[in-house]
Symmetry: C2
Subunit: 225 residues, 2 copies
DNA sequence: CAACTCAGTGCACAACTGTTCACAGAGTAC
DNA sequence: GTACTCTGTGAACAGTTGTGCACTGAGTTG
């Protein structure tokens, strides 16, 4: 072991990782004011403190950087929901907990969430599709989790997907509302949170009376002609 | 009235109106592929067939053009919903009719809706706020309409707003899903429509068992501490 | 018919964009 | 210690952007 880079081992890769992160951070911050498609490579490198051409040492494209940002964002989101499901007792508990965790995480990673909300239907097709795929996956995960609740155990997977989709959409709308609310206005935010909770409760009330079209009667009006 | 421009009266203003419309149309078409903030004045004028500087004869700004587009879009939306409420018998009728009308109008004015969906959380603050205001107003209108239903007559305005918001959000999500679906794929779209109907039905089922926090018990957990 | 209005033109400018290329110099490998 | 690797540099390119300015010429007006 003559000179196996004894203690400052990752010095080179570490430096690279750091400027890469600087690029991502700079982009994320710039994206609070404008949308991705209008964000230029030069702006990002300028904010990151490197020369434009050095960008290509880390990403082939601005699009590639955008996809990495999406991946980052949903990684935190996934961590969030895992916490929310750690202690699932009743639906009421889950509702209250989910909303709380959603809110706190939106605040903690607000730049990421703002980026996601903005690009969900933004100008860059690749980002749109990536985000849409992640949300779909998210709803799918929720559906399998919902299957564990006693009062939903008899539901068809189709109905569970329906319910999960409705819940996820409500959560997405809530997150978007929080991001759009005036910052440092606890009253406005409290109302959003309260509304989110009531909405979810209203939805779960519908669950009690729900009877699937595909189960009880015939499968009427569904994609099967 | 010696020469009150007898029959070709609006020739001049008409020509102006026409190129103005050409600008708006060109912008709308370009906006199908990219977001507003990345759309340049020159692109629009190029597509409209005029020279860049002539743009200023019609709009002071690109932003002003954007706001006009939003106004246009919601004008058609408003016309739509007026039709949907023309014959309100039962909630079931209203649901089915609303979804149908929404779908047909999204198709008819898909460029407008795509623009709205894209800029709802896009990079330009002025457009975001304008759209958000219009949607809020939309939900408000729906709430007053809901008040006419027998089974909702006893509801508080707060609860009606809640319900209306939930419905509008679901409709918005549906419209966005339709726009994002592969075009000319009737199966995918039929599924979206079916899901929308089922979601709305699930929500209205919740209505039956709903008991307002502010009415029956105390106003628990609301913004009043 | 002469005078005027004004939508659209054409040129110019400085600023910014993405990407190329040869090159520096610190970090690493042997 | 020498040779190599590779992140970041700096100049240069062709292209695009928004906007100012003096203009043309058709449409309108009295």
């Amino acid at each position: 072991m003559h000179s196996r880079t004894p203690d400052n081992s990752a010095t080179r890769l570490e430096r690279k990782r750091r400027t890469r992160e600087a690029l991502l951070d700079a982009a994320l911050e710039l994206l609070e004011d404008e949308s991705f498609s209008s964000l230029s490579l030069r702006q990002v490198t300028r904010a990151a403190g490197i020369v434009p051409t050095a960008f290509y040492r880390h990403f082939e494209d601005m699009e590639e950087l955008g996809l990495v940002l999406i991946d980052e964002s949903f990684r935190t989101l996934r961590a969030m929901i895992r916490t929310a499901r750690a202690d699932p007792r009743t639906t009421e508990h889950v509702i209250r907990g989910s909303v709380e965790i959603l809110v706190s995480h939106v605040h903690e990673h607000d730049a990421h969430f703002r980026f996601i909300a903005r690009e969900r239907f933004g100008g860059v097709a690749a980002l749109r599709h990536a985000i849409r795929g992640e949300i779909r996956l998210f709803a799918s995960d929720l559906a399998t989790d919902l299957a564990r609740f006693p009062n939903l155990r008899s539901w068809s997977t189709d109905d569970l997907q329906l319910l999960a989709g409705l819940i996820v959409d409500t959560m997405v709308a809530t997150a978007e509302a929080i991001l759009d609310a005036p910052p440092d206005d606890p009253a406005a935010e409290a109302e959003i949170v309260a509304t989110a909770g009531r909405r979810l409760r209203m939805i779960t009330l519908g669950v009690g009376g729900w009877r699937s079209e595909g189960a009880g009667v015939a499968n009427a009006g569904e994609s099967r002609p």
